[in-house]
Symmetry: C2
Subunit: 392 residues, 2 copies
């Protein structure tokens, strides 16, 4: 009898790596200007402060040990102060939970909040990391479009009026990835209002809120209702290597997440959590540091948007890029950005076609450009190459 | 209308924090000798080497960035060399996957290998972190007992002959947690043989294999069949704060885990992964370091087992503790270790009752003692306190 190879779970059938991600993986060549990535600029990360904090963390041997599943307590204390200021109320420490990047919060929340077949409303175009999690949880996914003021909460209201009953509504409230827009204060209030009226959870996914260029982001959706779970992260303001995200959620949600975190990976790293705590606690230094990042990204965003408008005029509508890491470009002449990609790569510029973020299909005439890791001259050159790829 | 609070997932109903864990949480008092924990000794962790490696990792700014989901490639290369030596074949790098502790490998594998309702065979008493994962995956769980030679593979064979068809069999092959025993070479071959004959996966969970006191652990079950997925970790030989586990599995399994890891937490920390890589690559230093840990734990194990036998004689049967971190004690007179616990705590000693590791119920006359974090004198005192709690 020949040996039997066991099968894999059927739940994998619906999941697949994105074809575009695979294509872009092959094109990390030095001659290509990469606007496809979504990485913060490592040149702006506070390397020396992280090294100092690492040294100080390792002075205490108990930092080498396992730590609590909910996160190293002094980090949770620092986050409690920070989130109390952001949310305008005294957040108790029980409502603050540290995760391995905010992506882990998303994935644990999907387990805690969703039964298989539950309805999840996402934005379209969507943050693909959220789509992946909700699909793996076997949720039914319905998309609501975005416009310049963020999620079309009126479309959500229509769905609800029509009888749809979501368990969760997911929104990237500030400087949306990929769409670049920010949910307006009026819509925040209305979204929270609907959450309370119909009894659903809102996951307010906010990794970019601190990266505003002109004026601070509006107050969080979470300030309007206890049905809103707020996610944030140190990855974009400090460094992704710390793998420190966090969530502010009702105690019952945090305790359920804690139970699942024990099974998922026991706990985070006391070393990287102490580094994060130390840097987030030095508020004066932190303010200056984040300000430097904001200025650098703001200049790059302006350079990119300026070059796009100068080169393409009415042929494109691009977001204003008032914060975050991305500019979203719509071609008014219907240029197909999937067809364009191989030519763009030939001309030495990479982007992500809008269709990569579509919940079903669509966004064929759009693209996402990331401005964080290139200087103004390089961004202008990238736009020029894009123009040449378009045959201008 | 009053605001509606949304519900949590029904899958949480079956999960709960262990009552005993909660009890023990309350008793971390300085006057209690804690043999209940399962922590390696932080005094033996290579703090200075970790600090040096952290400094060197942070010299390169790209270590601050996101890294690959499968793990920082140079760490995977080091692990490939290490696992090739352990497994006696050239392991290709595609079959080595880094996880956030080996607990994360378990939880991702549960998603990759199990459909809801699938059968999982575990050992009884069981590693509770595995039980938690398989329960969360909504698996049907069947237990097979352990004896002095590890899993009763003959009982598994009977189950299979009787028509049971597991998707996964989980075993802690070396120095079992909590049972202390090691799967014999004969049973390893037979387990692998059954896996191929009936087409199931074996998860060989091996965090303790390096911690042998007298002679090296037998060759891994994974050397006998490609149906065996091997998990290991740096937590017990270096430090848990590095949160670095890994898995050796067929390419198709690794690629499926990679897809789910992207949703679970995107990637690990390039910082802690480089520290781990550096320390694992210095084989001469590593051998000497692990040898030091072995000697210290070996002496402690001997002290504990000696004190138990001297104090209780025939009243207990304890494992020989030839490696790992735990001694398992059976009371031949049927002493109920759950009833005993409050009295033991009064007398200043903590342990985990055997029933905490039971798959259904049982092990009421057993306890798990951890010897890693106490010296010989303290262990003797702990046994004395236990005797006094028993009214001797």
């Amino acid at each position: 009898m020949s040996p039997l190879t066991p099968p894999l779970s059927r739940r994998l059938d619906g999941l697949q790596s994105s074809a575009i991600r695979d294509l872009l993986k092959l094109t990390v060549r030095p001659d290509i200007i990469g606007l496809a990535g979504g990485l913060p600029d490592e040149q702006l990360m506070p390397r020396d402060r992280i090294a100092l904090a690492a040294e100080s963390a390792l002075a205490d041997r108990s930092r080498l040990q396992y730590t609590e599943s909910a996160g190293w307590r002094p980090l949770r204390e620092v986050l409690t102060v920070r989130e109390s200021a952001r949310l305008g109320r005294d957040v108790p420490i029980e409502e603050v939970f540290v995760t391995h990047g905010s992506q882990q919060a998303l994935s644990l929340l999907a387990e805690v909040l969703l039964d298989p077949g539950a309805l999840v409303v996402v934005e379209d175009p969507a943050y693909v990391g959220a789509l992946q999690v909700f699909r793996a949880a076997q949720a039914r996914i319905v998309a609501v479009p975005l416009d310049a003021e963020g999620m079309r909460v009126d479309v959500l209201a229509e769905l609800l009026a029509g009888g749809e009953r979501p368990a969760v509504v997911h929104t990237v409230s500030n400087f949306h990835n990929p769409r670049g827009v920010t949910l307006s204060p009026e819509r925040r209030a209305e979204l929270a209002n609907l959450a309370q009226r119909y009894g659903f959870w809102v996951i307010e996914d906010d990794p970019y809120g601190e990266l505003w260029f002109e004026e601070p982001s509006p107050r969080p959706v979470a300030t309007y209702s206890p049905n809103v779970i707020r996610l944030s992260s140190s990855s974009k303001i400090l460094a992704p290597t710390l793998r420190t995200g966090w969530m502010v959620a009702p105690d019952a949600v945090c305790r359920a997440v804690e139970l699942l975190k024990q099974g998922a990976d026991l706990c985070g790293s006391a070393l990287t959590q102490q580094i994060t705590a130390e840097l987030l606690a030095e508020t004066e230094w932190l303010d200056a540091h984040v300000d430097k990042v904001r200025r650098a990204y703001g200049e790059r965003a302006q350079a990119l948007v300026g070059a796009l408008r100068e080169r393409f005029g009415d042929r494109v509508v691009s977001t204003d890029a008032t914060g975050g890491m991305f500019v979203w470009v719509d071609f008014t002449d219907g240029t197909d950005t999937v067809d364009l990609l191989p030519r763009a790569l030939e001309h030495g510029v990479a982007y992500v076609p809008g269709s990569a973020f579509a919940v079903a299909s669509g966004n064929r005439a759009s693209m996402r450009l990331c401005f964080t890791t290139s200087d103004a001259v390089t961004l202008a050159e990238a736009v020029d190459r894009l123009g040449r790829a378009l045959g201008d």
